[in-house]
């Protein structure tokens, strides 16, 4: 299937299926999982150690096909659990190899302690997380509670809206993570089923373009017999703190490295990325802030409301950790009301994770918008255009009255 893409003004050649030599901007129909698997292949990864879990399974399956057919020269280690997946990834990354992996939900929770190892030892592993709800009850569908449970582990965290972004961000995340100023691991979060499984069209880069963009990794340090070193020593109270401070400093280099990388990627792909994506925010009075595929629904509704003359906007965060403070402040401070829509819940907390972060940076705003938190879409419950309309209406109310009735609203639950 093919169609003409006006914005690129090119004639698109139909995708010829697996194994074909992809020409620049070749159009393909892929799900998020497949797009990430393809990017992993093109990135000439060295080691992938992964364990299958719904809804990530397609990514590892596709990738193992590429390995089995010799389309990529990599070691695919079928580990026996996610804890071992991340452990093996850390071991591999320490040798200076390029390492990628993926997981979801329970798997992410199981590898939680190893996540801190990866960031503490500064291993630039890139991991796709097909965001899925955490048990109990067991639920295999999309929400962000898995990644939110691990948000403090020191990993760079990126959220994507569709397979195109999943593909593009996998490549960019690798370059940002492996930058010697950063040298931190990164997750690329794709909504479970909504992005991981639904097929959409996307433009791929050619193998040459990717290998030009992602040359062989140059590690900051590596474990090799030629230079014996000791990694993972016991750091008593006299030494631990400095290492952590250093780690935070590395996180703070991410914004400027990201800007450098996305600029370079734009010259290769003609697609422009950054830390946040805004829609009609210049003169917006109320807005929705969200992560991932919800932004697509929000934009559709926002467009409809704009046609009716309402001054609405949408802010989508690509980068969640480190939190894009400066970029957001410049965009939200002049709003009258802001609704933070999240697909996760932080039990007992005044706001959910995302809204907490937004509320914190509002301390630095001169004119502060009124904000409120909206929890919806838990356990894969669909976030419909109706739900978004209700949120915009509530934001309108808040903007008019200046009063936040519910600081945390639950939308979509049967009451």
């Amino acid at each position: 299937m093919y169609r003409r893409r006006e914005e690129y003004n090119e004639v698109i050649i139909p995708y010829q299926g697996e194994g074909s030599t992809v020409r620049p901007q070749e159009l393909a129909g892929m799900s998020g999982n497949e797009a990430v698997a393809y990017a992993t292949k093109q990135a000439n990864v060295d080691v992938v150690a992964a364990y299958p879990i719904t809804p990530q399974t397609i990514m590892v399956e596709r990738f193992s096909e590429y390995v089995a057919n010799g389309e990529v020269d990599a070691e695919f280690v079928c580990v026996e659990s996610e804890h071992s997946a991340m452990s093996a990834s850390v071991g591999a990354s320490l040798t200076g190899a390029r390492v990628m992996t993926s997981t979801a939900s329970q798997g992410l929770a199981l590898m939680h302690e190893v996540m801190y190892l990866a960031s503490g030892l500064r291993c630039p592993i890139v991991m796709m997380v097909a965001n899925r709800a955490l048990s109990a009850p067991i639920n295999i569908h999309g929400d962000h509670s898995d990644m939110m449970g691990s948000r403090d582990c020191g990993w760079i965290q990126i959220y994507v809206e569709n397979p195109q972004e999943a593909y593009d961000w996998t490549l960019q995340a690798l370059k940002i993570a492996e930058d010697p100023e950063v040298s931190l691991p990164a997750t690329v979060n794709i909504d479970g089923f909504t992005v991981s499984h639904a097929m959409e069209d996307l433009n791929l880069l050619s193998d040459d373009q990717v290998s030009g963009f992602l040359p062989r990794r140059k590690p900051v340090y590596k474990v090799e017999p030629e230079k014996p070193l000791t990694v993972g020593a016991l750091a008593m109270p006299d030494y631990y703190y400095e290492v952590k401070r250093q780690q935070e400093e590395a996180m703070r280099q991410v914004p400027h490295v990201l800007n450098k990388v996305t600029k370079e990627y734009e010259t290769v792909s003609h697609r422009k990325y950054g830390m946040i994506e805004t829609f009609e925010m210049d003169d917006a009075e109320i807005a929705i802030l969200c992560l991932g595929s919800t932004a697509g629904t929000a934009r559709t509704v926002a467009r409809q409301l704009r046609e009716k003359g309402r001054k609405v906007g949408v802010v989508k965060l690509w980068l969640y950790r480190p939190f894009p403070q400066e970029e957001l402040i410049s965009v939200i401070c002049n709003l009258k009301a802001l609704a933070v829509v999240e697909r996760a819940i932080s039990f007992g907390a005044p706001y959910g994770a995302l809204c907490s972060d937004v509320a914190s940076i509002l301390q630095d705003c001169e004119g502060r918008p009124k904000i409120f938190d909206v929890v919806c879409g838990l356990g894969g419950r669909d976030i419909s255009p109706e739900d978004i309309r209700r949120v915009f209406d509530e934001a309108d109310q808040v903007a008019k009255t200046g009063i936040v009735r519910d600081r945390l609203k639950f939308i979509g639950v049967r009451e």
Binding site: D46, V47, A49, D73, A74, E75, V77, C78, V79, E80, S81, H83, S84, S87, A88, S89, V90, G91, A92, S93, L94, T95, G96, A97, V99, E113, V114, L117, L121, R216, V223, E224, P225, E226, K227, P228, L229, T230, V231, G232, A233, L234, A235, M236, Y239
Partner: protein, 311 residues
């Protein structure tokens, strides 16, 4: 069997580490490194050896050494091995690297068993050396599944109702052999030539290999530090810890003990078994001797040797 004078003089293990005086695991690490043949990387699970040999900024290791977590020595080793293999294949490296995973009985028998099983099943080319001091020593002498019957530990104390650890020692070598790997061996620091040979054999095997080495802990066993080697020898000579290899599934006895010394000769040197010598616990002591005899005869049988009567 390699003679001591032929062992390489180079010390890949430095003094100045903080392991106890007379530490069996320390001796096991030193001896293990005498068997290294070329570029080698060691990954170590959390435990006595790991903590005491690498207190920042001091390290006793003169080879590249990685510590990640407690239960994943085998998984980390899998990642290292896979990466070195790929880097060699892609021409980024030009020499092969031997990967050695080290774990105590705690990080191997219990919390680390899953990772070990996975690594063995996948057949990574690495060696797993388990130093066995029969309890979670680093965290304060708590019992592990490698603690023998009757031993007093802080979580299986010798009380008036329950006299020490119940149940047998888990059979690690049988578990490893069940994965159909080419080489599994038991060793003891009391028999250095045998142990070092076995580590070398394990390294030379293409694929996974496991060496389970008996390493007394004077602090945890409440024994005299000077007795660590003596105990390591007695354990073999009483039949408590037989030394054998399982090569491609076939058992082979290495140290043939003519007539096993009574177990009590071995137990009486250790404070952790002191309660067993009380008159009211004689039946427990006898039961332990019986079990040792039975297990020894079973090992002999597996090795194709004739069972002997023991004292």
């Amino acid at each position: 069997m390699v003679a001591l004078k032929d062992l390489k003089m180079e010390e890949l293990y430095a003094p100045g580490h903080r392991l106890c005086a007379g530490c069996g695991p320390s001796i096991s690490m030193r001896m293990m490194m005498k068997a290294f043949r070329g570029p080698t990387v060691v990954t170590n699970a959390t435990g006595c050896v790991e903590v005491s040999t690498t207190i920042y900024p001091y390290t006793a290791w003169r080879v590249p050494w990685v510590h990640t977590l407690f239960e994943n020595a085998a998984a980390t080793a899998s990642g290292l091995e896979a990466a070195y293999k790929v880097l060699l294949r892609k021409g980024v490296r030009n020499t092969k690297v031997d990967v050695i995973a080290v774990g105590g009985d705690g990080g191997t028998f219990d919390i680390g068993l899953q990772a070990l099983s996975g690594a063995l099943e996948r057949g990574h080319d690495f060696v797993y050396v388990c130093y066995d001091n029969e309890a979670y020593m680093n965290t304060g002498i708590q019992r592990s599944s490698a603690t023998p019957r009757g031993a007093a530990t802080t979580t299986s104390p010798a009380g008036s109702v329950i006299p020490g650890k119940r149940g047998r020692k888990k059979n690690l070598t049988a578990i490893c052999a069940a994965h159909d790997i080419e080489y599994v061996a038991t060793a003891s620091i009391g028999f250095p030539g045998d142990y070092i040979d076995k580590v070398r054999k394990a390294i030379e095997v293409e694929g996974a290999a496991v060496v389970h080495v008996f390493a007394p802990c004077p602090l945890g066993w409440r024994s005299n530090p000077a007795d660590s080697i003596k105990l390591a020898k007695l354990a073999v000579q009483t039949g408590v810890f037989p030394l054998y290899e399982i090569i491609k599934g076939k058992y082979k006895l290495n140290i043939k003990v003519g007539k096993c010394i009574p177990v009590s000769e071995y137990l009486k040197l250790q404070g952790r078994f002191r309660h067993l010598f009380k008159p009211e616990l004689k039946s427990e002591l006898d039961a332990i001797q019986e079990q040792v005899t039975e297990d020894w005869n079973r090992t002999l049988d597996l090795c194709g040797e004739k069972p002997k009567v023991t004292g």
